[in-house]
């Protein structure tokens, strides 16, 4: 039993790293523009399909796809920002979110029409490679995804805290007008923040593709987890989202041992409801709004 629990803990931590990579972009766009990017999961879906077709076309490792998928997603983020997000920056929050709901429907169902609902996965030389520490088995692709995720999350944190661009992003986040008056090109900063948020998925796609398969509605699965993480972590709170990612993932993988049938995925949501019930001031001591 202890080995089982230990194994579940390790799996949970690894999964938490991947969740955090997917959620940081969401938190970033939220923190800077107060926009809830409902289409975030669909951008991940695009990145995963991009990786899949790259691997099929060049018959290489999924990780190599990052050289195409990362710039591709960054660019896609910037185009979407300029065409759709920028015009609604001053609109009310429901309209902003619904615009991205519309985009997610177009992406998800467009992919369904183009690629059919078949599941697609790629084989990597590393797919079955694993480390064994005592009784605990760690799949190498998961370890790589975890390491990359943590590095990216921490780099983003560093970018926001310590670089000129980060300072500008934070300034624009705390007061758009004041930042503009201080000579910051707020539109450019917003555009870059959105591009970086989506760009993170350009890394998440290639590193998760050897672990998960891709289907057109995979975005819905990840966006639900991401919302739970972002709300639990305190909306817009970077480190909160990181911690919440681990909590959610560990809850899920530990639950898989004890829960009957395929009910374990319900645990992050139950946990979410329990926090709302018993700790209404928020997991990290701050309210959601």
């Amino acid at each position: 039993m202890t080995e089982l629990v230990l194994q579940a803990l390790v799996t949970g931590v690894l999964l938490g790293g991947i969740y955090s990579l997917i959620c940081v972009g969401l938190t970033l766009t939220f923190g800077v523009m107060r926009i809830i990017n409902f289409a975030h999961g669909e951008f991940l879906m695009v990145a995963m399909y991009g990786t899949y077709f790259f691997v099929k076309a060049f018959n290489t490792e999924a990780y190599l796809a990052v050289i195409v998928v990362l710039p591709g997603l960054f660019l896609l983020g910037i185009i979407v920002f300029q065409l759709f997000v920028r015009p609604v920056l001053g609109a009310d929050q429901l309209n902003q979110m619904l615009l991205l709901v519309g985009l997610s429907l177009v992406f998800e169902n467009g992919a369904l029409a183009l690629f059919s609902p078949d599941t697609r996965s790629v084989q990597s030389a590393l797919t079955f490679a694993k480390l064994e520490i005592g009784d605990v088995i760690i799949g190498l692709p998961k370890l790589i995804a975890f390491a990359v995720s943590v590095i990216i999350t921490l780099s983003l944190y560093w970018l926001l805290r310590s670089t000129e661009l980060g300072r500008q992003i934070r300034a624009a986040a705390s007061d758009r007008d004041a930042a503009a008056l201080m000579g910051i090109n707020v539109n450019r900063v917003n555009m870059l923040a959105f591009g970086i948020g989506i760009g993170c998925l350009g890394i998440a796609g290639p590193v998760t593709m050897p672990i998960f398969y891709v289907v057109p509605n995979i975005g819905t699965f990840f966006i639900l987890i991401a919302f739970v993480v972002v709300v639990l972590g305190g909306i817009g709170n970077f480190i909160g989202a990181l911690c919440a990612s681990f909590i959610v993932a560990i809850t899920e993988s530990l639950g898989a041992i004890f829960m009957p049938g395929s009910t374990a995925p319900v645990l992050p949501f139950i946990f979410f409801v329990l926090v709302l019930l018993f700790k209404p001031e928020g997991l990290f001591g701050m309210r959601a709004q």
């Binding site: 429901l94 619904l98 919302f227 309210r287």
Partner: protein, 337 residues
């Protein structure tokens, strides 16, 4: 519009609705039924999302509670769906109260409330998939061999159309009441400025909970009708984010306005989706949602007041004298003080 003219329009509209099945083909009748049912659901959504300003993305959950409660009661105990739908409505109301209480107490409102309702829908989907007693992943079939009003079973789909007309009249009455009653005014006050409403002595949480429970219960009634019309329910097609979003989209595309506005979205989008589907064929599953998404984006970018806003703008443009008078009046008002 004077009172008697409005009454006349209402009677005429009702007469058209009642006579329509005589001239429609079965397929057109199917689309008309969908417009009525989803129009009904849009009004239900509007009680919470429009009046109270708490956009739910989880109304599929309340629909499913209505659909499952009545169906399980019918299949296992032979309980009439008319009673089953009341039971479903009560359950959905309680569930709405629970979700609302959790969220509003936590300070979650507006779009975040929408996210919480999504989480609950997902919980319900996973649970429903794993409970064999309510069909699990296989779902539940409602066999229909003969007509029975008491069992809400009709071989001829026209009967469902008329049930949907009655549902629509019911929700129109509730909406008209909300528009005039102090309760409705308090909900609008909460939507416009929650803190100001509270400062004026409105029990904000109580009224929001009332709106949630009313909206959820009425949605559940629609869920029962849906289940009996399609005769098959399963967790993945019913407890689905897209199902909930569809209801929201009809409401937003129609526009925020008076009594008849929420119908515009469904009356525009459902025939459009049907036309796209028949033009492209069944090989493109989900293509209608691409259309919905694109229309939703276009409406938000170019018609923030929805199609209703467009209709109003066109009407004002066609009556230049009226518009001119309005401008003069505004100018006078501006000069006056």
């Amino acid at each position: 519009m004077t009172r008697s003219l409005a009454f006349l329009c209402g009677v005429l509209g009702l007469a058209v609705l009642v006579c329509l099945p005589l001239v429609l083909t079965p397929h057109q009748l199917h689309v008309a039924f969908q417009i009525l049912l989803f129009g009904y659901l849009t009004y239900c959504w509007n009680i919470l999302g429009g009046f109270a300003g708490q956009p739910s993305f989880g109304h599929a959950l309340f629909m499913a509670v209505g659909a499952y409660t009545s169906t399980v009661l019918l299949l296992n105990f032979g309980v009439s769906p008319w009673i089953g739908m009341i039971a479903g409505a009560m359950l959905a109301g309680l569930l709405g109260l629970f979700i609302g209480y959790l969220s509003f107490r936590y300070g979650i409102r507006g779009t975040y409330f929408g996210l919480v309702t999504v989480a609950f829908t997902e919980i319900a989907r996973i649970v429903a998939l794993n409970v064999p007693a309510i069909g699990g992943a296989l779902g539940l079939y409602i066999p229909i061999q003969s007509n029975s009003f008491w069992q809400l079973k009709f071989v001829d789909k026209t009967a469902y159309y008329y049930v949907a007309v009655v549902f629509l009249l019911l929700v129109l009455a509730v909406t008209a009441w909300l528009e005039r009653s102090p309760t409705g005014h308090k909900l609008v006050a909460i939507r416009e400025n929650e803190d100001a409403a509270r400062a004026l002595g409105v029990d904000v949480i109580r009224y929001k909970l009332f709106a949630t429970a009313l909206s959820a219960s009425m949605t559940a009634l629609g869920g029962t009708l849906y289940a009996h019309y399609v005769t098959f329910i399963d967790p993945n097609s019913l407890l689905n984010l897209n199902m909930a979003l569809e209801i929201t989209i009809y409401s937003i595309v129609g526009g925020v306005g008076t009594l008849f506005v929420p119908l515009i979205g469904a009356a525009f989008l459902l025939p459009l989706a049907d036309a796209v589907r028949s033009a492209l064929g069944q090989s493109y599953a989900g293509i209608h949602l691409v259309v919905y998404g694109a229309v939703l984006m276009a409406v938000i970018l170019y018609l923030p007041e929805g199609l209703f806003g467009l209709i109003r703008a066109l009407r004002t443009a066609r009556e230049p004298s009226n518009a001119a008078r309005g401008t003069t009046a505004a100018a006078v008002k501006e000069v006056a003080p």
